[in-house]
């Protein structure tokens, strides 16, 4: 079990992407490419803040998001670790049913006369609301 794998975060301030999202994406990419494996520990908030200039709250947020997505799990007093929980199976079926529900919803929205831009706006608002509630 590696303590501090060679994962160095990078932030791109010019991209439209929120910093916490960038961290989440970088971890996901690392897991996908095998750089991070089950049981590896993510750098502590303090270490990240030493590596790059970033608000610690942002790192907390990213790690919470990773926990929510099932990619990582926090162990009190020890840190945040890539989870060995395999949810691949259940994820696939959950995804399928979500997908179907979404397609049905879009069809309904179209039927009431909403155009694409409005639908996008509604989805964005809903995500934003959800994001606010979560943090």
């Amino acid at each position: 079990m590696a303590q501090h794998p060679s994962l160095t975060f990078r932030l791109d301030h010019q991209s439209g992407l929120a910093p916490y999202r960038q961290l989440v994406d970088q971890v996901r990419h690392a897991v996908r490419s095998g750089l991070l494996r089950d049981g590896d520990q993510l750098p502590s908030v303090r270490d990240v803040v030493t590596q790059i200039t970033i608000n610690p709250n942002t790192v907390h947020r990213a790690y919470r998001e990773l926990e929510h997505q099932g990619i990582a799990e926090g162990r009190a007093g020890l840190g945040t670790f890539i989870t060995s929980r395999s949810r691949a199976g259940s994820n696939a079926s959950e995804r399928a049913s979500l997908d179907q529900a979404l397609q049905d919803w879009v069809a309904d929205a179209r039927r009431t006369g909403l155009d694409e831009e409005t639908i996008r706006e509604l989805i964005r608002s809903a995500l934003h609301q959800d994001g606010k509630v979560r943090s």
Partner: protein, 304 residues
């Protein structure tokens, strides 16, 4: 209120210097646990606000509460819990760094010498050097360390990143973030260049002409502002629920930075997401508080 959830609360706060107002009609609430940026050009009232919050001067008008208490110079309790770093980063020039630390220790019951020495060791600043022999960036680090080592609940930093070369600036901001990570302090820092500190701020307050024109979570700001542009058509009406922050007209068309209240649907407008800096600039250009979108300034035509 059972527990304080705000570190700074101002209501109609104002400060008068002889014939001009350094700050006026300042009403804002900065929540706990944030790294808040006070942005505005020089003379917009940032230093005035921070100095009042630090207990160095008294308001002329209005009320100010810091960590739930009044920061008046005559009242002593707050100074233990609040760290202040002045724009000039004053230090005793003839002292050695170790003596500056001793100064901090003797004057602050909550001082932690370990925190201070750790920070300085991390930055490779030798304790035996004289302050006057250090570079500007190193002096800023030492001055910041003096604030951090007393482990305050709130840090008030006046232009901490200004006049520093990029490397020194990074080092200083990281030092600050390490402290925030360790101690969960709140930070209010001022800057005239948001890009210097955008990486670390999650709350933004924009001051223009001694007034607050914007004050909110970074993410919320970014989510609720858009750039609407249209080619040519001068009379195109705005969708409802939109408040204009700043508008630029050119021969080619109009470009407006707006705050979005309701989702809208109008194909004729081109919609873009602005960066935080662009939003702040728009508010600074507009210059007066936007409550109902009436004030639109046509300052420049042409691209930015």
């Amino acid at each position: 209120m059972i527990e304080e959830t705000s570190v700074l609360e101002a209501v109609n706060l104002g400060k008068r210097y002889r014939r001009t107002w350094g700050l006026q009609d300042c009403t804002l609430t900065i929540p706990k646990g944030r790294v808040a940026a006070l942005v505005g050009p020089n003379g917009s009232g940032k230093s005035t606000l921070l100095r009042m919050a630090a207990g160095l001067s008294e308001p002329s008008v209005g009320t100010l509460r810091v960590l739930g208490q009044s920061p008046s110079p005559g009242i002593d309790d707050l100074r233990e819990r609040v760290g202040y770093l002045d724009q000039d980063r004053p230090l005793y020039k003839s002292f050695r760094v170790a003596e500056m630390l001793r100064f901090g220790e003797m004057n602050n019951p909550t001082w932690s010498m370990d925190v201070a020495k750790n920070h300085l060791a991390h930055l490779d600043i030798p304790l035996r050097s004289r302050v006057s022999d250090l570079s500007g960036g190193q002096q800023a680090q030492v001055a910041l360390t003096l604030c951090l080592a007393k482990q305050p609940e709130l840090l008030l930093l006046d232009e901490p990143a200004s006049a520093l070369d990029p490397v020194a600036r990074e080092d200083l901001l990281r030092l600050l973030m390490r402290q925030v990570a360790d101690s969960e302090s709140s930070v209010v820092l001022s800057t005239h260049a948001l890009s210097d500190v955008a990486a670390i701020c999650d709350y933004v307050i924009v001051l223009a002409h001694a007034r607050v024109v914007l004050s909110d979570d970074t993410e919320y700001i970014v989510e609720t502002h858009r750039i609407l542009s249209v080619v040519g058509d001068d009379d195109l009406a705005l969708p409802p629920g939109i408040t204009v922050v700043n508008e630029q007209r050119s021969a080619r068309g109009r470009s407006l930075l707006v705050r979005v209240g309701l989702p809208f649907n109008d194909d004729r407008w081109l919609v873009d997401r602005p960066t935080l800096e662009e939003i702040v600039l728009a508010y600074l250009r507009a210059g007066s508080p936007h409550r109902d979108g009436r004030d639109v300034d046509e300052i420049e035509s042409g691209a930015r």
